[in-house]
């Protein structure tokens, strides 16, 4: 399966735009990686622009970490080439590449203190001593760990170790910073805080970030662009809003946010849902009559009762109600195998719990243009 580009093709833009190859940080050309019989990465073609915060998003085993490791130099592509700043890096070992990695397990050097950890890369490159000291101090300031130079990794908390790992990588001013699910081990509150901090640091420093995660909220929050991967191939890539609002594939629709995928068939006048209703959403090219499709509708776009004019209307029974604090999820059974999740805000004026009970029959609706037809 090849990548499904959005209408403006960013990769082409990057290479043939006014900046030429100068604005590209990483380029994958036909990159495939096999481990024995398993295909981890399948014909990857992607360009990542200089200075952008780019995320590889997908479930476990989708190939995102393998892709990252090929940029770092820990794996070699079986086919195709990886280009860093326009130059192919096929036989270049990790220690000669101008990239640095922040690992999931932080991978700090236990026998060295914070300062010497951060200084490690600079020492390898034989940077003079005074420069090392000042650059390390700057890096620690950037991650807000000034004053902890003498601490050992075992004396630090998870979040602090995370920052040391970040400083250790950034201090070398690499062309690209690779981050492999760096926030996975942190608790929720800290993770949210670090997400904001990482984004700020990236903007301040201007280095290209290639970020790997399985957390779609994280990717949406931090990235300039996201590539959603599954089974070794990019399913879709683009800015977060585009991925969320206009998913091109059922997988993407299902993976990003909560989505309802309603089975339907294409007819002459529009699309007929399995539950019988007919309406006319915008159709993508090449939809023939009789084709089986999915209608993807975001839960927050669904109204419960109080329908507006022009909305598609369906009926069902409430089978579950989940209170989430700011919102309540209401799950409605339309047909024996068709369920829909709707989202209601809990405002001061109306709490969803007060209105909806399990077992109630309710009318749902949405505007046709909010339904995406996917194949």
């Amino acid at each position: 399966m090849t990548a499904n580009h959005t209408t403006t093709d960013p990769s082409i833009q990057a290479t043939t735009g006014s900046d030429g190859t100068g604005s590209e940080a990483i380029r994958f050309e036909g990159v495939t990686k096999r481990f024995g019989a398993t295909v981890a990465v399948d014909d990857l073609n992607l360009t990542i622009r200089r200075g952008e915060f780019f995320s590889l998003l997908g479930p476990s085993g989708c190939g995102k970490t393998t892709t990252l490791r090929m940029v770092a130099g820990f794996e070699q592509p079986t086919e195709g080439s990886v280009y860093l700043e326009g130059e192919p890096v096929d036989d270049v070992p990790p220690y000669s590449r101008n990239v640095n990695t922040v690992f999931q397990s932080y991978a700090l050097f236990e026998h060295l203190d914070v300062e010497r950890n951060v200084a490690f890369g600079l020492k390898r490159r034989k940077v003079p001593g005074d420069e090392i000291r000042s650059r390390v101090a700057d890096a620690l300031e950037l991650v807000q760990l000034t004053g902890r130079e003498r601490a050992k990794p075992r004396q630090l908390s998870g979040g602090q170790m995370q920052r040391v790992a970040l400083a250790r990588a950034l201090v070398n001013r690499p062309a690209v910073l690779l981050l492999d699910e760096p926030l996975g081990a942190l608790d929720l509150k800290l993770r949210k805080q670090m997400q904001v901090e990482l984004k700020e640091i990236q903007r301040e420093v201007g280095i290209t970030f290639l970020y790997v995660t399985h957390d779609q909220e994280e990717a949406l929050a931090m990235s300039d662009r996201i590539a959603v991967m599954d089974e070794g191939a990019v399913q879709q890539f683009g800015p977060p809003e585009e991925i969320y609002e206009s998913p091109q594939k059922p997988f993407v629709a299902g993976f990003i946010g909560v989505s309802n995928l309603l089975p339907a068939t294409v007819e002459a006048e529009g699309v007929r849902l399995k539950t019988g209703e007919l309406f006319a959403p915008p159709l993508p090219e090449g939809c023939e009559e009789g084709a089986s499709v999915f209608c993807s509708v975001r839960p927050e776009k669904i109204f419960l009762d109080d329908l507006e004019d022009g909305m598609v209307s369906v009926e069902g029974e409430i089978v579950e109600r989940i209170y989430l604090g700011t919102t309540t999820q209401v799950i409605v059974q339309l047909a024996p195998d068709v369920r829909v999740v709707a989202l209601e805000q809990n405002t001061a004026r109306s709490r969803a719990d007060d209105r909806w009970e399990i077992g109630m029959r309710v009318r749902l609706g949405w505007h046709p243009e909010h339904a995406l037809v996917l194949r």
Binding site: P93, T101, F103, L108, E110, R168, A169
Partner: protein, 294 residues
Amino acid sequence: MSAPGWAARLPLARRRAERRRRRGFDRPRFLLAFFLLFVVWTFAPLLVVALFSFNSTPSLQNFEGFSLQWYDEFFSSVTLRESLVASIEIGFVTMIVGTVLGTTLAFALVRARSRVAQASNVLMLIPLVTPEIVAGVSALVLFTQIGMDLSLLTIMIAEITFSISFVTVIVRARLATMNREVEEAALDLGATRIQTVRLVVLPALWPAIIASALLIFALSFDDFVIAFFTTGESPTPLPVQIYSSIRFGVRPTINAIGTLMLVISFLIVALAVALPRLLGRRGEQNVLIGGEAG
């Protein structure tokens, strides 16, 4: 475990056990007495040997008075002195060569991916379970059939052969627990493979290497069976000397030798415990100096 009935009793039982322990109920006197007797039984013979090594008369029954004459006899005997030196030499050479070989083998095996490496993982264990007499016999047969004269060298070769596996097992176990990403981080930050080993792997590995080095020093210094089969005419290592002497009958001189070996064994154990701690702290300095210069 079998009966599921008592799994439910666990929380209650735990509390009761806690209470009993606090009240000091938990010490069956029989076991304690047995334990004390055991300690006496294991330590006493060694203490007796040591005691009578200082006896002023050749008696092994009655302690007449304090004297160092038997140690004197030991150190004035050229043969015995040479034996002591020979044992120490064997210990050192075996320690150095065995540790180097064993450590490199550990590195090769810990990331065992090829079939050869995986098979080697198991094969490497065989020398560990081989009875010493089989080891001695096979070494003897080898040396004579290739026409090599028996000497200290043949002992060293044989000892090294059977020490490698000890080092490999210990070092490999430590290597296996090390986070692979730490090595990748070093590579990522600009260290070549050799630098990575020197700056990141070895500092964490030192305690295991030292422990296994001391272990094989002690094992080869103390070894009798293999040395017995592969030794030349003279000098022979100390354990072989002891054995020959005992064949002629017991003497306090042997007590002296025995006590000496006892002391040396304990010293090695003390070293094995203390060194990793000492080096642990200084090791970091060395890495920094190395880092600074490199």
